[in-house]
């Protein structure tokens, strides 16, 4: 290895550095370093004349590396690296010695300050002495996006990206787009009809020339990395050709099979061949293979006989397609925490005890009761309805530790809707406290209490059970300290949101992290809230954490903006300070593979191999490897070793 030719440039920063640090002495000490062939000081190194002096010195002295002793790298590292590049050598050969924030500004004694500045500068000189010339890694980009999940988050993200000109593949596991939002009756705090605001978006998605909708499909496998993912998608057979189906409904009339309708949360039944909702997109029927008597004219075949459009095809088989995309948005949403887990409320087995979504269907004009609130057991109008908040949430001992965030608001909405439907009925709400942060939210809760007359009781319900055709609710009002007993006609549980099954599956397929509650983990809780840990994979909606519709839409838009920014470039540029394997030393023990937070390392022929696009250069591998067989470029163990030496000299 030929010896480095390093130039050292020490900045006075006016008097900011020079007041505490004897700049001339730093220059003199540095010029004695083995690799240093040029050194100078200047009053403002970052000024135009200062930067030009650096460029001139690089050219005149054939420098191959640069140390600037000045302010924090967070201020001018980029300035000086760009400058170095302009002079014709790699910007990554330039190191900053921070002698202002970490030295001159925090010490008063000039001797002490100068000594420390020398150590810091010498340490940077040693590091620069072993820096490699690196160029940013260019990665080609596929300008297509896959969105997983066809709820409001996925729909919004798809539209935003498609409108920006990106090709979008929207994958939904259910037979229709719409997700949970399509099940809601009205939305808080404005009480506009959920389907009325969602359906137009669903139609827009289905008609958008840039969006390919794949319902009844599941992502099975994803390989590749940012800019170039390959996704294997399973198309489950619907046995109905959506092109031919004219939704005449003749098939369901003849189908002999009756099963609970999952889209109505079991409040109604459906046939084996069915359409989830009248507004379903695609507007086509689906034949549920599990429920069907047998996809065979000999076994049944009634629907095929009845179909005049000849849309039914029993020979459809599962199909796998591969799509190449540059980025992925995960919008796999939530499920409600299972009522079966709540022992004190009867494990979901007590009649007329509903979950929030079931209540939505009761209120919905398109629901089982055509929008009349009737209790399921006897179809009578319930006069006393108890709403219980925080069921399954905020209970670290037994259920979910987190606050499910939307339940205070949807319970207030439920109480309001109920009072609108049954003005002479009584709505009781048991709550721990009310969390109504959001535009118009607090006002809405106040209206629920004051104008709609819902009775809010602060406390928990300890037990409920069937008693004389009603549901006996035993609770405590902690504000009065009295026990409360209500003979309710109906009880609605505000169950916690939990990550959907699809979310767990997506995390596994995409190898992206989940937090302790199973929601998808964001790359940084504050600064990168819509990015996953893996570059090129973005998060939208309740899969990342409990949130309401406006928040979901906002996050979906943010994720879309991130994708648009990412894919607006012809190639991606990635920092070249990534891990490198010394193959001769690697024994393939896989410790680095385990330690890497980015899944950037894999074993190939018994040796670790780094995917430079995925590697972020954190160095977890370096510290874990017992054999110093993997190191981050320009932050090698040798460099640190020599820096330690410089600090203690």
């Amino acid at each position: 290895m030929t010896k480095k030719r390093t130039g050292v440039f020490v900045c006075h920063c006016g008097n900011n550095i020079a007041a505490t640090v004897d700049v001339a002495r730093v220059v003199k000490e540095m010029s004695a370093e083995e690799t240093v062939v040029y050194s100078q000081d200047y009053v403002y190194m970052c000024s135009d004349p200062g930067q030009n002096a650096v460029i001139q010195a690089i050219k005149d002295n054939q420098l191959d590396s640069v140390v600037v002793s000045c302010c924090s790298p967070s201020l001018h590292e980029k300035t000086f690296r760009d400058n170095t590049t302009r002079a014709g050598i790699s910007g990554f050969t330039c190191e900053i010695a921070n002698i202002r924030e970490q030295c001159a500004w925090v010490h008063k004694d000039r001797d002490v300050g100068t000594e420390k500045a020398i150590k810091i500068s010498r340490s940077a000189v040693r590091r620069a002495g072993r820096n490699q010339s690196l160029e940013p890694i260019a990665v080609p980009v596929t300008r297509r996006v896959m969105v997983i999940g066809g709820g409001i988050a996925g729909i919004q993200a798809s539209l935003d990206m498609a409108n920006a000109g990106l090709e979008v593949i929207l994958v939904e596991r259910q037979a229709t787009l719409g997700g949970h939002m399509l099940q809601l009756s009205e939305t808080f705090p404005t009480l506009d009809c959920s389907q009325c605001i969602l359906s137009p978006k669903m139609v827009e998605v289905s008609r958008h020339p840039k969006i390919k909708v794949m319902t009844y499909c599941e992502v099975q496998e994803v390989s590749g990395s940012v800019g170039n993912f390959k996704a294997k998608i399973l198309k489950k057979p619907t046995f109905v050709d959506p092109e031919k189906c004219n939704i005449c409904d003749d098939c369901t009339q003849v189908c002999p099979v009756v099963v609970p309708n999952e889209y109505e949360l079991g409040l109604t039944a459906r046939r084996a061949i069915y359409i989830p909702y009248a507004q379903a997109i695609p507007a086509s029927y689906t034949l549920d293979e599990e429920a069907c008597l047998g996809l065979n004219p000999i076994r049944c075949g009634k629907c095929k006989d009845a179909c005049e459009a000849d849309a039914i095809n029993y020979d459809m088989r599962p199909e796998t397609v591969v799509e190449e995309v540059g980025a992925i948005v995960v919008a796999t949403g939530f499920d409600l925490y299972p009522q079966e887990n709540i022992a004190e409320y009867g494990y979901g087995k007590v009649e007329d005890v509903l979950d929030g979504l079931q209540f939505e269907r009761l209120c919905s004009a398109s629901g089982a009761t055509s929008g009349h609130v009737l209790r399921p057991s006897d179809h009578k109008v319930p006069k006393d309805v108890v709403f219980i908040q925080c069921v399954g949430s905020r209970d670290p001992a037994q259920h979910c530790a987190y606050c499910s965030k939307i339940c205070c608001m949807y319970t207030a909405k439920h109480a309001t809707l109920y009072k609108h439907h049954v003005p002479d009925g009584r709505a009781y709400v048991f709550y721990i406290d009310i969390r109504s942060g959001g535009k118009g939210y607090e006002e809405f809760v106040q209206r629920t209490m004051e104008e709609d007359g819902a009775i809010y009781l602060r406390g928990r319900v300890s037990k409920l059970y069937r008693h004389n055709g009603k549901v006996k609710v035993l609770g405590t009002d902690t504000l009065t300290g009295q026990n409360v007993e209500i003979d309710a006609d109906m009880v609605v549980l505000a169950l916690a949101m939990q990550p959907s099954k699809g979310t767990a599956q997506a995390a596994k397929v995409l190898k992206i992290g989940r937090d302790k509650d199973g929601f998808l983990a964001e790359a940084h809780p504050k600064l990168r809230p819509v990015e996953s840990v893996t570059a090129g994979i973005f998060l939208a909606g309740a899969a990342q954490g409990p949130k309401d519709i406006p928040e979901t839409v906002a996050q979906a838009g943010a994720a879309a903006a991130k994708v648009i920014a990412l894919l607006s470039q012809a190639t991606l540029s990635h920092a070249p300070t990534v891990a490198r394997v010394r193959r001769s030393h690697c024994t393939g023990c896989e410790m680095c593979v385990t330690a890497c937070p980015y899944h950037a390392i894999r074993l190939e022929n018994g040796k670790a191999v780094v995917n430079e696009v995925l590697c972020e250069g954190c160095g977890s591998c370096t510290a874990t490897c017992l054999r110093a067989a993997i190191e981050v470029k320009n932050a090698t163990q040798m460099q640190v070793f020599e820096m330690i030496e410089a600090c203690l000299a």
Binding site: G619, A623, T624, F641, L648
Partner: protein, 143 residues
């Protein structure tokens, strides 16, 4: 001046680039004065600090070694500081077992917003190191 007062412990401070180094910058911007004993080495992440760096610093004559990273949950690289916590715990136990004063190795979480905390960490560390005197247990014996 007695010998004890003249003794200034030498400290190598490994600071993660994203939190603690930025925190020390903030101490500077806020002009919070603290002792000059600790010379910083910026590393990508506390998780990149190999136990060998620590032993090597002591071997090269450090009287104290400071490691500082992002608070748990805030790591720029998601989980580097979790890995660091486990490794540093082990080496700290090992040092103590051998009879090296446990106060010579210090770890802290300093966020980019905690300039004052960084200054305090260094102040406390220097104050704790002074009574211990020079570290000669692991310091290279070149005689």
């Amino acid at each position: 001046m007695s010998e004890e007062q003249a003794y200034e412990p030498k400290i190598v401070a490994f600071l993660c680039k994203w939190c603690s180094s930025a925190g020390s910058d903030l101490a500077g911007v806020s002009r919070i004065q603290y002792p000059a004993n600790a010379t910083p080495i910026t590393v990508p992440c506390s998780g990149s600090i190999s136990p060998l760096y620590i032993l090597s610093a002591f071997n090269k004559g450090a009287d104290g070694v400071l490691l500082s990273g992002c608070h748990i949950g805030d790591c720029h690289y998601i989980e580097g500081n979790y890995l660091a916590r486990r490794k540093i715990y082990l080496i700290k136990e090992l040092l103590e077992m051998v009879g090296v004063e446990p106060d010579r190795l210090r770890m802290s979480w300093v966020s980019a917003a905690e300039g004052a905390k960084y200054a305090q960490v260094v102040k406390d560390f220097v104050a704790d190191l002074k009574p211990l005197g020079p570290q000669d247990k692991l310091k290279a014996d070149r005689t």
